[in-house]
């Protein structure tokens, strides 16, 4: 157990050093190797985590996910990179939501704060998942137009409020029914779609960066639920770095982030 904690600690250090190196052109290439080493160590040590079962399922899932991502990542053209980042980021958000779903179904989210953080992570993760899929579809040319309609922002707000309300129901019930949980996840997924729909293609990288920060935060919250320090630290670091990066990217494009998200004007950049 101490060894596991030590490896998670080392992984967290490697992630931070890796990101630091990636933020300077001279050291950027080694940065990803450092972070990769941390990831490999953390994944391997998790296999001997106490109380683990379902080994066959775990190994198959790891194999399938890794192979599909590896194959698609290798062959994609350099110009198509942003949508690949979007889809991989969405996968991370979806995974965080899945963790929350399992823990909520089991009812093993340590106390009220655990359930609250778990549900919050689920909400953010699910939004990041469905939003990233829309971002991917737009950049990949599968969805040509930015979808806009009357009272769109009011509808978005209503769906968001609904998701929050259902999340609250899940948190407050000591043993929430499967129906409430499913409704909660559906509302969160719907909000992610609605949030990304009106945004034009040229603004997408900024939005992907925002979803990236979201996923980081969702991972951190699920880290609290699972009492996993590596997830808390890596997730929070990405959440903060991603938020700053989103601001920097928006600034580099001379578009305040609020305009990107909520403006129906400036559609000249939009996806037509």
């Amino acid at each position: 157990m101490v060894l596991i904690q030590f490896v998670y600690f080392a992984a967290a250090v490697l992630f931070i050093l890796g990101l630091k190196r990636m933020s300077s052109p001279k050291t950027a290439r080694s940065g990803i190797v450092w972070a990769g080493a941390g990831m490999l160590l953390a994944t391997l040590i998790t296999l001997v985590h106490p109380g683990m079962g379902n080994y066959l399922l775990i190994l198959i899932a790891l194999g399938v996910g890794s192979y599909v991502a590896w194959a698609s990542g290798r062959k994609v053209a350099m110009t198509d990179m942003p949508q690949m980042i979007a889809i991989y980021n969405g996968m991370g958000g979806g995974a965080a939501a899945c963790i929350a779903a399992v823990e909520l179904l089991k009812g093993s989210t340590h106390g009220a704060s655990g359930a609250l953080l778990g549900a919050l992570g689920a909400l953010i993760g699910a939004v990041s998942f469905s939003g990233s899929v829309i971002a991917w579809a737009k950049l990949d040319g599968r969805m040509k137009k930015a979808v806009r309609f009357a009272h769109q922002q009011r509808l978005n707000l209503a769906v968001f409020a609904l998701a929050l309300l259902l999340g609250l129901c899940v948190v407050l019930q000591s043993h929430p029914g499967a129906f409430t949980i499913v409704a909660f996840f559906l509302a969160a997924l719907a909000f992610g779609v609605l949030m990304a729909l009106p945004i034009g293609g040229a603004d997408m990288p900024v939005v992907i960066s925002l979803f990236n920060a979201f996923t980081g935060l969702a991972v951190a919250f699920e880290g609290f639920v699972l009492q996993n320090a590596a997830m808390i630290i890596a997730g929070t670091v990405v959440g903060a770095a991603g938020t700053l990066l989103t601001q920097l990217m928006a600034k580099a494009m001379n578009r305040p982030i609020r305009n990107v998200l909520f403006s129906h004007f400036g559609a000249s950049a939009g996806g037509a």
């Binding site: 950027a28 953390a42 889809i87 995974a95 965080a96 899945c98 089991k106 996923t215 996993n228 320090a229």
Partner: protein, 94 residues
Amino acid sequence: MIEGFAALYIFMLAGFVGYEVIARVPVILHTPLMSGSNFVHGIVVVGAMVALGGADSGLEQLIGFVGVALAAGNAVGGYVVTERMLEMFKSSKG
């Protein structure tokens, strides 16, 4: 072990670290860094493995399985794509 204020302190300090660590990133590295941080939150694979490892019912196993597969995709895909992007910085010393 990680509870209450200890958790809050970790959260706060890690947040500052994330902010400071990339504070002076040049514009040319924006996209690779986005990709790199996308890889780093692939650590969710660890949590997904623990969730699936402790899943009992069929439904929990199914969701856990999807979670691990998605998380592995996040980590592996994030690494491959970031590595390919950063290869373009080959000329400068790594």
